[in-house]
Symmetry: C2
Subunit: 277 residues, 2 copies
Amino acid sequence: MRTLKLTLAYDGTAYAGWQVQPGKTTVQGTLEAALSKVTGHFVRVLASGRTDAGVHARGQVVGFQTGSELAPDVLQKALNAVLPPDVAVLDVAEAAEGFHAIRDAVRKRYRYVIHDGPVRDVFGRAYAWHCRRRLDDEAMHRAAQVLSGTHDFSSFETSGAPRVSSVRTVSHISVGRAGDCPVFRPTDATSQNRADRKTGLSPSGDDSSVDEHFLLIDVEADGFLYNMVRTIVGTLVEVGRGAEPEHWVGQVLEATDRRRAGPTAPPEGLFLMQVDY
Amino acid sequence: MRTLKLTLAYDGTAYAGWQVQPGKTTVQGTLEAALSKVTGHFVRVLASGRTDAGVHARGQVVGFQTGSELAPDVLQKALNAVLPPDVAVLDVAEAAEGFHAIRDAVRKRYRYVIHDGPVRDVFGRAYAWHCRRRLDDEAMHRAAQVLSGTHDFSSFETSGAPRVSSVRTVSHISVGRAGDCPVFRPTDATSQNRADRKTGLSPSGDDSSVDEHFLLIDVEADGFLYNMVRTIVGTLVEVGRGAEPEHWVGQVLEATDRRRAGPTAPPEGLFLMQVDY
């Protein structure tokens, strides 16, 4: 038996979350079905962590054991051929025997995307939380810095998920406006890049003056409590919309009481970006 | 009766194109149902042009007449409240009596998005044409310039769509790699922007060295023949993948024969970006 480590991207929109549940379509179930088809035997995978219904991944990591002797790149191509279009295997690598996708993870990074334009973005509707009023991203970024470092994050943990410890170390947290995106917010990046070679009239549709309406909230930590990123985001949005002052976030943290934090942000804006081992 | 001009964005994935067809869900039918509900009378709209099934719009323009006395911004909000999430009204404005969305259009701009990474992008699957092999975007850009200016574009028109003239004037055409996108290709734009204020460790997930795998092809003209952008893109991709030399595009243009051009690129990469009046 070999141990393999697989890196996965998925659009969580159509799934009832990661974990296998009877009668529901889940990402884990979909992946295991594809692996079983490709390897010829039933495969059970272990992911770095579960993601909830509607949550996306750019870099989920799973480990599994297989008797298959297929080379990693062959396995990757075969899996991508049988997986549905909203799940893709980005990488397959040999792992040391005993590799454990949860225990061996040393750091994870999540990104949360907010769209704060007045009109919904039809292309971002499944990939961003739509807040109609413009948020003060500078205030949110400043307010978030109190969460950096080692703290008891009980205030940002959805109850009903008991853990040995709710102390985690946040190594990075930032809030900023997104760069331009070819689909979500198309500016004329192309013709700007090509300005030196441009022929004919310049395109009239120069929307480079349009404000950027996507906020990216990046959080990196050694581990995350249940709903931690979504609760941090819901709390920072209270600051961004002016309902609470910047120093309130520190008070929420110190309270170690979930009832003091803001609401849990919806799942569609959340992306598991990377897991380091 | 007032004449109104409405600017619309839609995700074309779920629609059988723009134009009303019996028994099918179309964008026009969906918009007219919403307008009829909001104005209290049946409304027929005229768009700047039809879009095919799966084609998207960031700036489709439609004109219509209404007896409603609702202010433009009230009408916009009411429409967005009743429209499905994949259609949004970006703007409502009063138009001169006799405004004709087709005849009065002086310039249109389309964007075509290609993803040329080896593994499909799960978030871009409905918004880009996936070409697995990396394309030579510089060669495509150079080859495209022969299409700039006033020409008979018969080679780039799907037959069965007779027109008085197939002469059009392309005022801009460019091919370039896309800037980063928070969802499609997330790099650490945020933490770079915030480098001066960063606390704690820098995020390990620095993927700024990752190649950009999205190509944007922008075409602006005074009008477009049926499938013209998609045929231009299919032709340029032949150059980009090295199957044809750069000067071949000029030969295709001069031939005024659709059989000489490349294949028609699929609809999901195409966006109607802007219509000027």
